[in-house]
Symmetry: C2
Subunit: 416 residues, 2 copies
Amino acid sequence: MYSGHNHPGIPMKYKFSEMLGYMKPSEIRELLKYASMPDFISFGGGMPNPLTFPMQDLKEIVDDVLDVSGKYALQYGNTGGLPELRTEISKMVMKTEGIKSEENEIIVTSGSQQGLYELGKIFLNRSDGVIVESPTYVGAISAFNANAGKMIPVEMDSEGIISDKVEEKLKSLTGRPEFPRFIYVIPNYQNPTGHTLNLDRRKHLLELSEKYQVPIVEDNPYGELRYSGKKLPSIKSLDKTGENVIYLGTFSKVMCPGLRIGYTVAPEAVISKLNLLKQALDLSSSTFSQYVAAEYLKRGVIYRQVPKTVELYSKKRNVMLNALEEHFPKDSTWSKPDGGMFIWATLDKKINTNQMLKTSIENGVGYVSGLAFSPDGSHTSSMRLNFTFSEEEEIVRGIKKLSNTIKNVATGITAT
Amino acid sequence: MYSGHNHPGIPMKYKFSEMLGYMKPSEIRELLKYASMPDFISFGGGMPNPLTFPMQDLKEIVDDVLDVSGKYALQYGNTGGLPELRTEISKMVMKTEGIKSEENEIIVTSGSQQGLYELGKIFLNRSDGVIVESPTYVGAISAFNANAGKMIPVEMDSEGIISDKVEEKLKSLTGRPEFPRFIYVIPNYQNPTGHTLNLDRRKHLLELSEKYQVPIVEDNPYGELRYSGKKLPSIKSLDKTGENVIYLGTFSKVMCPGLRIGYTVAPEAVISKLNLLKQALDLSSSTFSQYVAAEYLKRGVIYRQVPKTVELYSKKRNVMLNALEEHFPKDSTWSKPDGGMFIWATLDKKINTNQMLKTSIENGVGYVSGLAFSPDGSHTSSMRLNFTFSEEEEIVRGIKKLSNTIKNVATGITAT
C-alpha cells in the first residue's frame, strides 16, 4: 500500500499521489512576487508589454460581443472550442504559417500551457521519453513532469536543436522502453535561448519523425514577433503527410495573455483525444474569451496590432543587446535573437546564476537562472533575460546593475 | 514496454498513454450538439438560463475593468488567483455558508471542474478509492477516472448519501489498498438527483472523516439556488478542526458559466499543492474573468441577482413537477428538489433510458440517462431532467412528449 509522501505541516489524513512528487515549484512564478517592489527591474517573467494590448479595439469588441452574442458568450460552450474561433484560427495559421487545417483538427485551449499539459497526459506513461531542447521552456518541463515523463535533453547551438544529435538519440533508444513518445521543439526565437532552428534541421527533424515514427510537437508562441532575419517555414507546413506534426499556438503574445486562449492543430484523431481529456480538465475554455478572440481575428485587428508590437520589441531588443555589449563582463556570451522575448546569457562557469539570484534581487534586478530551463541540472551559469517588459531606460539601468552584481560575485569567488 | 492502445484510423506513430483508456466521452457533451435543432427541447444539459445572466451589470463591469485595470486584467496573473478576488470569495463564503478562510486557503480555478480534476490528480494513485454518491456528478466521474481512481459508490435516499453505509465501507476497507483518499459529496440539491443531505448525516460524515482520517470534498455549486425548505449549514462550516473538509464553489450558477471561474477552499497545505499543479495545467485562470468576478462580488451585484434567479427557477421547477404529475407514467417516481437545477426520474425497471435516448431525441426531447451518472453501471432506468433552461411552455410540452415516448417504448417492450 502506498502511503503518500510526508509533508511537514500537513494533516496525516491528506495522502498525496506519487505524481505530485514529480512536480517542482517554478522559480519564475515565485519571482513574480517581487515584480511589484518599487524600482525593481524585472528581466525575469515572460510578460508581454501592456503597451501592446489592443485596449481600444478590445473595448469595442467586448461591448459588441455582449450586445450581439451575450447569451451565448456567457454560457457553457463546446469543449473543443467555439466553432467560429476555430474557423478563424484555421484561416490565420494558413495566412501566417502556411498550415492547412480543418475545424476538427483544431482544439482551443486555456493558454498553450494547457495544450502542453494535455499532450503530456495523453501520450506519456510514467518514464516514457520526450526529446526536448536543452535548455527548454520551463512550462513544458512542468507539463511533462506532471505526467512523470522522462526528459531526453538534446544539445542546441545558435541554429537551434542539433538534429544529428536527435538522430543519435533515436537510434540508440530504438526498441527501448523510454523511446520518445514525441519530440518537443520551439523553432522560432526559442524560450529561453532566443535561437531559431535553421531550415535544414527543420527538414531533417521531419525525416526523422517519418523514419522513426515519432511525432514532432512544434510550439510557436513567438512566430509573429520577428525583428530581423528571414521568416522560416513552420515544420508543420513542411510536412506533406499532415500527420507528423502537432502545432501549438497562443494569443498571449499577439493579443494579450489575460484571456488565456491558445490552440493546438493536429490530426483529427489526436484532437479527439485532447477533447476527451479537456472535458475532465475544465469542460471548456472561457466562452467569452473565445468570442473576443474570434472577433479580434475576424476584424483583422491582429494584423494591425502585431507590426506595432514588433516595432516596440525590436527597439527594446537592440537596447538590451547594446547594454550587454557595453556593460556585461567580457568573459560572458549571449544570444542575438531575431525575434521573440528573450536573450540567453552565459557567464563564467564559476558563477552559479541560481545562487546569485538572491543577491541580484536584493540589488533590484530579477532574471531567471538557467537551471529553471534545464531538463537535467545543466546550464547553471546561464540566465534568461526578458527584454519586452521593461522601459528602455530600465533595460540599460538594469543591465548595468546586473553587470555589477556579476562582477562582485565573481570577485568574491576568486577571493575565497 | 507498453506499446499504447490500438485506435482505428490513428497513425501508428501516435501511442497513447494508458491513462487515456480510463476516460469515456460524456453523453451530456455529445447531447449539446442537438441543442441547436429547431423545436428541440433539451432537459439534457446543466445550463443556467441566460435570463439569469446579469447582462447590464456585466457590461458596466467589463468596461470599468478595462478602463481602470486594463493593463493588469489582460496580463498574466498569479497562479493561485487574483488576490482581490480571493479576498472577496473569502467574505462571500463567510456570508453565505459561514465558512472561515484566509486568502491562502483559497485557489481560483477554471470552473469548479478544474478543482475536481486537481483533487483527483493530487490525491489519487492508480486504483486509489474515492467514496462517491451513487449516482453522482458526471464531471466528477470524468475527473477521477482521468486519474485512474477507483470509484466506491454509496447508496443515496431522498435525504442524501446514507452515512451509515459510508461507515460500513470505511470499516471494511480499513487497511486495504483501495481505502478512500477522500469522500466526494454534493450536499445541496445534488446533481443529478436533486436530493439534499440532512443535517444529522452531515454531522455523521464529519465524525467519520475525523475517526477514519479521510477528508471530505464538499461540492456546492447550487447552494444559493434554494426554492423551498430550510437552508442547512455547509459541512465545512460544521468542521471545528478546519482540516477535514475541502470545499468547492463556482460562479457558473450565480453569475454565468462562460467566464469559467470556480474556487476551492481548503487547508493551506492542500492549496499549495493545487497551486503547484495549476502551474502545469494552465499557469492561471483568465485574469480578465477574475477581475470581472471580483467586481461582481465587490459591488454586491450577486446579492441582487440571485433572488431573481431563484424566483425564475422556482417557477420552472414547479411547472416541471406539475407536468410530471399530470403526464408521466404512473409506475415512475421522481425527486422533489428544494433547489438546484435537476429532477431525477426513475422509470419501470424494464426501460433502459440509455437505449431510449435516441428515440426520445428523434421525438424532439433530450435528457441525460442515469447511466452517465453511475459509478458502477447502475441507474439504467433513471434519467436526469434539467428544469432551468427551457421556457415554461416548453417544459410542459417536453414532458408530454417524453411521457409519450416512454409509454410507446414500454408498450414495445411488453409486446415483444
